[in-house]
């Protein structure tokens, strides 16, 4: 080896040379001190590399953990048919206003009520083909219970009692019920509590807490509705309590997403207990005591079979699970749950019938009952009753109009049906026989039904039975005022756009928009936004190929930024900006967020946003702007890697 082939030296050190080359290299090394030095260097490098193999870089996992949690939550929300962007519910007032305008216009254009009734009769063909009933794999059942009964038939619950969607469970003073769901998910109903199992599928479970407390260990998406609030957790452990002051959500593991009727949604992290008031957007947050956290962790950690046989949880009274001061005695036998498919309840359940069957029922001082109509997510198509059970609930075959709203626009509505199964909605979803109580407990006025039937007969509106054109039970005055101002603000925001026909949909049961204030001009249909709302020079251009609702949100944020009131958009912008992988929309969101912070005078946060933009999109459209602002910042000491060795 007259020529110094350093590559061969590396292969020699790695034992990659064959026998002949190895001998040749050994001979050369004896006479070449330079190569011997190189070989020593190679060996030291390989040693360093081997050390690095075992080293784990010091890394803060919180950010990634949160990102993974958010990813799973979004997926679960999509699976459950809810919008991936809960803040899209901000668009609800505008959508409801559009629905109201449409309804008013339709009323003028509609035929007489008799004609409408005729149309309704014609539009309710009992011969419409039924979609095949999807499989219902979940088997909710009682793992243990004490002083608990099923409201429908007064059945006292014990281990092994099967539950179906639509069943309501009530516990007496000192009672409890441990309900096993799919996988390892469990619900524990505390004393003096009442809960309705709205739906339970392989992907999600929804319950309506009407009184008391419920704790959940969620291995899939569990949604607890109470008092107009909706707490949703995936891979988490949390409890929800209906208290005098509102709804209390406490989280032991994971994070829980809480949607509020009167404010932006928020996340409650592990170790926090937050009380949400229906009258004001402000929340009261406290930390969980270690004891409470440990108790819920027990619920989380215990395998399902052990739960039934384990000693009941002994929680502080009035705390987590609302257990009584004297611990209840649970049933100490684990049972195999019967594999009974979910059966919709045959008849609508009354709104709040305080059943006398469970006596004595002493209302807790702390707990309050919420009318079911406030917890009003729409049922999904999965929970639709079979045609034999509810033939009259079918209105007309669903025919998507050519100018139907974009899927994302549909997703912005609190109606999981359209967004969950956009590809296969063969017909208007039948009336929910078992799921959320709103459509049943508050029937639409007859004129609305007639109007709905007539509109459906015209084929240009996708309507569902049970949809309301106006909220029958107005929320508190403060909420109304806030939402009215929000609707007015939205109307102002859209004032620059040409008027267009509102989306061809009547808003389903939405959280309280006063029908009286006329909103003109109507909001632009989301699908037309990218075409009609061309940005001016310097304005951030919407991504026409992307999600219209997100683009709309970005545009609104930008407009708010110009007016100097962008603060309320920061949460949603962060959610868009954290989209992975980074895309045009996330870049825009990041830069709008940075500008917003700058406008608010929060220079450090603005610079942090600009720096993050540069990290995520160093060659993005706004890189120059970001560099300019980031350069103004004092040079930050970059976090030194704490990896001790490579």
């Amino acid at each position: 080896m007259m020529m110094h082939d350093t590559l061969k030296l590396w292969e020699l050190a790695a034992r990659e040379l064959d026998e002949g080359d190895t001998r040749w290299a050994a001979v050369h090394l004896e006479e070449c001190p330079e190569c011997r030095e190189d070989l020593a260097l190679v060996r030291s490098l390989r040693q360093l590399a081997a050390q690095a193999r075992a080293a784990i870089p010091a890394f803060q996992w919180e950010g990634v953990d949160a990102s993974i949690g958010s990813l799973l939550e979004r997926h679960a929300a999509r699976s459950a048919g809810l919008g991936a962007r809960p803040w899209r519910w901000l668009l609800l007032p505008a959508a409801a206003a559009a629905g109201a305008v449409l309804a008013l216009g339709a009323r003028a254009a509609l035929p007489s009520r008799a004609e409408a009734a005729t149309a309704a009769a014609a539009a309710a063909p009992a011969t419409a083909p039924l979609p095949p009933e999807p499989p219902r794999p979940s088997t909710p059942g009682v793992l243990s219970a004490k002083d608990a009964q099923r409201l429908q038939d007064g059945l006292r619950l014990s281990e092994g009692s099967a539950l179906a969607a639509g069943d309501s469970v009530r516990t007496g003073h000192g009672g409890h019920a441990l309900i096993g769901l799919r996988d390892e998910s469990v619900l524990r109903l505390g004393p003096d509590s009442q809960l309705k199992l709205s739906r339970s599928s392989s992907e999600d479970t929804a319950v309506a807490l009407e009184r008391g407390r419920v704790a959940a260990r969620a291995t899939h998406c569990i949604e607890v509705n109470s008092g107009g609030f909706r707490a949703r957790g995936v891979a988490s452990a949390f409890s929800v309590a209906a208290t005098r002051n509102g709804v209390e959500v406490a989280v032991s593991q994971g994070r829980v997403h809480v949607e509020r009727p009167n404010a932006l949604p928020m996340l409650v992290s592990a170790g926090k207990r937050v009380t949400f008031s229906p009258r004001r957007a402000a929340t009261a947050a406290t930390s969980l005591s270690p004891e409470n956290r440990a108790e819920l962790d027990r619920l989380v950690a215990a395998p399902r079979r052990q739960l039934a046989s384990a000693q009941p949880l002994t929680l502080s009274d009035g705390e987590w699970l609302g257990a009584p001061s004297s611990p209840a005695t649970g049933v100490a036998v684990a049972v195999a749950l019967p594999t009974q498919p979910l059966v919709p309840a045959p008849a609508p359940t009354p709104t709040m019938p305080p059943s006398d069957a469970l006596a004595p029922l002493v209302p807790s001082d702390e707990y309050v009952s919420f009318p079911q109509t406030q917890a009003a997510p729409k049922p999904t198509a999965r929970m639709a009753a079979p045609a034999q059970a509810q033939p009259a609930s079918r209105v007309a075959p669903w025919q998507p109009a050519p100018a139907a709203p974009a899927p994302e626009a549909v997703a912005a509505y609190p109606d999981p049906v359209g967004s969950a199964q956009p590809a296969s909605p063969p017909m208007i979803a039948p009336a929910p026989a078992v799921a959320e109580p709103a459509p049943q407990s508050v029937p639409a006025p007859p004129e609305h039904e007639a109007m709905r039937a007539a509109l459906a007969a015209k084929g240009d509106v996708a309507l569902r039975p049970g949809m309301l054109l106006a909220e029958p039970q107005p929320p508190p005055r403060e909420v109304l005022a806030e939402q009215a101002s929000m609707a007015a603000a939205q109307a102002t925001e859209f004032s620059g756009y040409p008027q267009a026909a509102p989306p061809a949909a009547v808003a389903p049961v939405v959280p309280s928009v006063p029908a009286s204030p006329p909103v003109t001009p109507a909001p632009m249909p989301l699908a037309d936004l990218s075409q009609a709302a061309r940005p001016a020079a310097g304005q951030i251009a919407p991504d026409e190929s992307g999600d219209d609702a997100e683009d709309l949100y970005l545009l609104r944020a930008e407009r708010a930024l110009k007016r100097g009131g962008c603060q309320r958009f920061l949460t949603g912008l962060e959610e868009i900006a954290s989209d992975l992988p980074a895309n045009e929309r996330s870049e825009r969101a990041r830069i709008v967020r940075a500008r917003c912070f700058e406008q608010m005078g929060k220079t450090a946060q603005a610079q942090s946003e600009y720096a993050q933009y540069l990290r995520e999109s160093p060659r993005g459209d706004f890189a120059l702007e970001a560099e300019r602002h980031a350069a103004v910042a004092a040079p930050q000491a970059r976090p030194e890697s704490r990896l001790s060795d490579l």
């Binding site: 590399a49 890394f59 950010g63 990634v64 993974i68």
Partner: protein, 183 residues
């Protein structure tokens, strides 16, 4: 610490970890989202270790997030019974290449302490993206060339060519005299 490296499979059937990963993937495909969280916790240290060397500490968090986002998206299409580790490896490589286009490890430039470890890190950071990928996966993480070339979609000859160039560049960088850091 579990020293099994989910990226580096050691045998055709690998260790019990592969079976654990497959079990998680099957559960995710069945709709159990908690299984993905378990999958993430089983593999995150190794993924982070690989990406640390590939993209540097500044980009590490974003790269890890992106890796798991891609992994989550790809799991529904993961064939039943197929190995999970090569998929993670391929996603790591893709994400690393994407992030390598950005400035890499600028903090290393300021860190001219002439320590051997730092010098090697700087030398790795100065490699071309694909060469860095191959060097780190093979030399640092110990993944076999055949497995690596298959996961990266390279022929074994191309792989060896990249590896040879990377080795020479590293040696060249390490031979350079130590320069004093700027004040």
């Amino acid at each position: 610490m579990d020293t099994r490296n989910p990226i580096a499979e050691t045998s055709p059937d690998s260790t019990g970890l592969e079976a654990e990963l497959r079990c998680r993937v099957a559960r995710v495909q069945g709709g159990d989202l908690a299984a993905f969280d378990e999958l993430y916790r089983l593999t995150r240290n190794d993924v982070a270790r690989a990406l640390f060397h590939l993209v540097g500490p500044e980009e590490l968090e974003a790269a890890v997030k992106e890796t798991y986002a891609h992994l989550f998206d790809s799991l529904p299409k993961h064939p039943e019974g197929a190995r999970v580790q090569p998929r993670i490896l391929a996603i790591c490589a893709k994400v690393a290449l994407r992030h390598s286009k950005r400035s890499h490890s600028s903090s290393l430039d300021a860190d001219a302490n002439a320590d051997e470890t730092c010098r090697l890190r700087r030398a790795i950071a100065s490699l071309a993206p694909k060469a860095r990928l191959i060097f780190v996966f093979h030399e640092v993480l110990g993944i076999a060339p055949e497995q690596l070339s298959r996961a990266l979609g390279l022929s074994i000859d191309t792989f060896r060519s990249h590896l040879g160039r990377a080795r020479l560049a590293i040696l060249s960088a390490m031979r350079e005299p130590i320069t004093e850091a700027a004040p």
